[in-house]
Amino acid sequence: MSLPLNVRQASACRNLVVDKLKFVEHQTGALSLGAFALLLLLFAAQTAAAQSPPAATALPAGSERAGVQPEGRASQASTQDLTSLPLGKGLPVMVRVGLYFQRITAFDDNQGTFTGTFDMRLRWEDPRLRYPAETTPRGFQEFRGPNAEQKLKEVWIPQVAFTNLKESPANQTTSLRIFPDGWVELMERTTGQFSVPINAGSFPFDKQSLDVEITVRRETTGEASLVVLQEDIDFSRPAQDLSIDGWTPGLVNIKRFTQPGWYGEFQSGLVVGLNVARKPVYVVATVFIPLLASLLIPLLAIWMNSTEEGEFKTDAFELANIIVGGLFAVIALNFTINAAYRSVATGDNTVTRLFGLNYVTLGVGLAVVVLLYRYNVPMRFCGRYVQEQMFSYLSWAVPLLAVGTALAFILVGAS
C-alpha cells in the first residue's frame, strides 16, 4: 500500500527539483549545472522512495482535481497514481448510485426540512484495482473506519456531495469494498438535516418528495456520470419500519439532472426522493371544520331576516354585527392556521382558496345587509315585490354557491 505513495512522493520531489534547477539555469545560463542537477535529482528520488511516508503527507482525496492519466500496463501498476480518474473502462466512469432511507426522524413541512439517516451506495469499476480472487476468502477486500479513510485517500473516488444537506452531517461513517474484478463499492451512512422544496398546492391532499440531491462536485459529465440501474433501484427504498408522523411513505423516485459547471461543462447529479403522502384526516379537524364553519356566519346573517310585503323585519345593525364578528373570526382563524401550517400561508392552495371564499362570502353577506336590509336598494329601483323575491332567492342561492365552491376547491385539491 505504501509503494505508490513513495513513488508519488519521489515524483513530486523530482518535479520540484527540476523546476528549481530550470529556474537556476534560466538565471545563470550555466549549462554546467545540468550534470549536478541530474545527480541531485537521482539522490532526492532515491531518498524519498526509501522512506516510509507519514500519513499526513498523503494527498487527500478531493483536495485537488485528479489528473487524467492513461492507464498503464500491469507491470507498471505499482507506479500508477491510483487517485487519478480510472480510464480502463472508458469515459465517463459510470458511478452507480443507490440510496437507502433507513430512518426519518422528523419532517417539518413548514420549514421545508427533514432529518434522517441514509445509506448511500456508490459503485464503479476501476480496472487498476483488480487483484487475484483467491487472495480474499470473503470475495472482497473491506475497509472500515480509519482503514477506509486511509484507503479512500489512495484510490480514486468520485467527489460526490449531498447538495441539499443543510449543515454538516450529525454522523457519517464510511465503508469501502474492493472486489477482485475491480468493482469498488463505497457505502456511506449519513445522518443529517436536508432542505426540500414544499409544494402545498394540493394541501391537505398533497404529496411531498423527501429529496436527497447527490451531485458530483469535481468531475464533469464527460469524466464521471451518476447512473441508476435495476440493482440500485432495488437498493433505493425506505426501511420496512420507516414511519413519519402524519405522513405515509411511498416509493422512492430517482431523477437524473446535470448542473452547469465552468467553461460550458456540466456535472452529473441525481435526486433520490422518497414520496410521502400527507394523512389528511389529521388536518380535517384543525383546518377544514373551522374553515367550513366560518363560512356559515355570513349565511346566518342572510337567513336571520324575514320579509313581509318586501319590508324587512330585523334591524340591519344587528345583522351587520354578525358579519363584522365573522370577519374577525376568519381573520383570527387565518392567523392561527398560518402559524400552525406556514407552508400554506402563501401561494395557491385549498386552504388559501377557502379563506378567499370566506372573505368573499362575508363581503356578499355585508352587501346584502347594507344594500338590501339597510337601504332597500332593490325596492327603491324595482319595487317591494322584486326586493321580496330577491331576498327569497339569495336565501338559498348564496349558501348553494358557497357550498358548491367550497366543494369544488376541495375536489380540485384532492385530484
Binding site: V227, Q230, R256, C382, V386, Q389, A397, G404, L411, S415
Partner: protein, 375 residues
C-alpha cells in the same frame, strides 16, 4: 297547473339543460384535448422505443460489417482457424462488452452452424438453422440483416452480415448482438421512461440455454412471457399483465399503479420469421394530464352551477317579483273589494310594470267609485 310554479320551472329547466349541455360539450372538448396530448405522448414513446431499437440494430450491423470486412478476419475464418479468431478478437469483444453493451459476437459457418462465439468460446458447433432464421436468411441471400433474435446467451438485437474469403467466396456470416439491459437502462436515463422487455418463455427455454436459470422465477413470469429485464420491477408488476401482452401489434393504454397513473406502450419483438417472441414495454407518468382532466371537470361543473343559479335567480325575480307577485296583490285587492266594504289601495302603483299599471288604475277607479257610493 299554476303559472307561478310551472313557468319558472320550465324556464329554469331549459336554462339548466342548455348550461349542462354546454358544460358537457366543453368538458368533452377539453377531454379530447387532453387525450390528444396523451396520444402525442404515446406517439413519442413509440418513436423513442422504435428509434432506439432501430439504432441498436444499426450499431450491431455496422460493427458486424466492419469485422466481416477485415482481411485478417476473412483469412482466419476461411482457414477455419477458431483459435486464431479467438486470439485476434477476444480482447476486442471484451472491450465492446465492457464499454458499449455488446453482448454477443459469433461467427457462423455453412450450413448455418455456430463456428465461434466470442462471448462463449467453449460452446460451438450447434446447428443454428432451426432457431436462428435471421442467420439462415443472411447465408441464403448473402445480404446483411438486422433484427431481434433469441440466441444461446439470451435475447439481443443483432446485426448479421455475410462473410467471404479473400477470393470473395461466401464462407458464412458474422453477427454482433446488443443486450437489452444496456439499451433499456440508457433509455431510462435519457428519457426518464421506465422500460422492460418480456420474452416468450418457451423460446427462451428452447434457444437461450445460456441464460441464468433464476430468470424463470414466478416473480418474472407474466403469462407465457418472462420479464427478462426491467428498470423498475415494482412498477411493471402492476402495469403489465398477461392479457396486455397477448397482442401482436403496437399497443398503448393507461393504468394506475402505486397511486400513479401511467401511460404504457407495448412494442412487439419479432424474430426473423415474423413471429412475436417478445415485447418491449415503456411507461411514462401520466398523472399530470389525468389530474388536469379531473380539475377541468370540477371547474366546469362549478361554472355550470353558477350559471344555472344566477340565470334561475334572474328568471325567478323577474317573473315573480315583477309580474306574479304584484298580480297576486292586485287580485287579492279586487277580491276584497268585491266581498267587503273596506278595501286597501295597491302599494307603490308607480313601481308596477306598464301592463299592470292599467289594471291597478282600474282597481283604483273602481275603489274610488265604491267609496263615493258609500259616502
Amino acid at each position: 297547473m299554476t303559472f307561478r310554479r310551472s313557468a319558472p320551472l320550465v324556464l329554469i329547466s331549459a336554462i339548466a339543460l342548455v348550461v349542462a349541455a354546454a358544460s358537457i360539450i366543453s368538458s368533452l372538448l377539453f377531454t379530447r384535448m387532453i387525450s390528444s396530448v396523451e396520444a402525442k405522448q404515446f406517439s413519442l414513446m413509440h418513436s423513442i422505443v422504435a428509434f432506439n431499437l432501430r439504432g441498436a440494430e444499426d450499431r450491431a450491423q455496422a460493427r458486424a460489417a466492419m469485422i466481416a470486412d477485415l482481411p485478417r478476419a476473412r483469412a482466419l475464418f476461411a482457414a477455419r482457424d477458431r483459435a486464431g479468431l479467438l486470439a485476434e478478437y477476444s480482447k476486442m469483444f471484451a472491450d465492446q462488452k465492457d464499454k458499449y453493451g455488446v453482448d454477443q459476437a459469433q461467427f457462423h459457418s455453412l450450413p448455418p452452424t455456430s463456428f465461434l462465439r466470442l462471448n462463449d468460446p467453449e460452446n460451438f458447433g450447434d446447428d443454428l438453422s432451426k432457431f436462428r432464421p435471421i442467420v439462415v436468411a443472411v447465408n441464403r441471400d448473402q445480404t446483411p440483416r438486422k433484427g431481434f433474435a433469441i440466441a444461446r446467451s439470451g435475447p439481443a438485437i443483432v446485426g448479421v452480415v455475410p462473410m467471404f474469403d479473400p477470393q470473395e467466396k461466401h464462407i458464412g456470416s458474422f453477427e454482433f448482438g446488443i443486450a437489452f439491459d444496456d439499451l433499456l437502462d440508457n433509455l431510462k436515463n435519457a428519457y426518464n421512461l421506465e422500460m422492460a422487455v418480456f420474452i416468450d418463455e418457451k423460446s427462451l427455454h428452447e434457444f437461450a440455454k445460456g441464460v441464468d436459470p433464476a430468470i424463470y422465477s414466478d416473480q418474472n413470469r407474466v403469462g407465457k412471457f418472462i420479464r427478462f429485464h426491467s428498470t423498475s420491477s415494482a412498477v411493471f408488476q402492476s402495469l403489465v399483465s398477461d392479457k396486455d401482452l397477448n397482442t401482436t401489434e403496437n399497443t398503448q393504454y393507461v393504468r394506475e399503479a402505486l397511486g400513479v397513473t401511467y401511460g404504457i406502450v407495448l412494442v412487439p419483438l419479432r424474430n426473423g420469421a415474423g413471429d412475436v417472441v417478445g415485447m418491449v414495454a415503456a411507461t411514462s407518468d401520466f398523472s399530470a394530464s389525468r389530474s388536469s382532466r379531473t380539475r377541468a371537470f370540477v371547474w366546469q361543473a362549478l361554472i355550470a352551477l353558477f350559471s344555472i343559479v344566477l340565470l334561475a335567480g334572474v328568471t325567478l325575480i323577474i317573473i315573480r317579483g315583477i309580474l306574479l307577485r304584484p298580480l297576486e296583490v292586485i287580485t287579492s285587492r279586487f277580491a276584497t273589494l268585491s266581498t267587503e266594504n273596506e278595501s286597501a289601495e295597491i302599494p307603490e302603483p308607480d313601481m308596477l310594470c306598464d301592463e299592470l299599471k292599467g289594471l291597478a288604475r282600474q282597481y283604483e277607479n273602481l275603489r274610488s267609485a265604491r267609496k263615493r257610493e258609500a259616502e
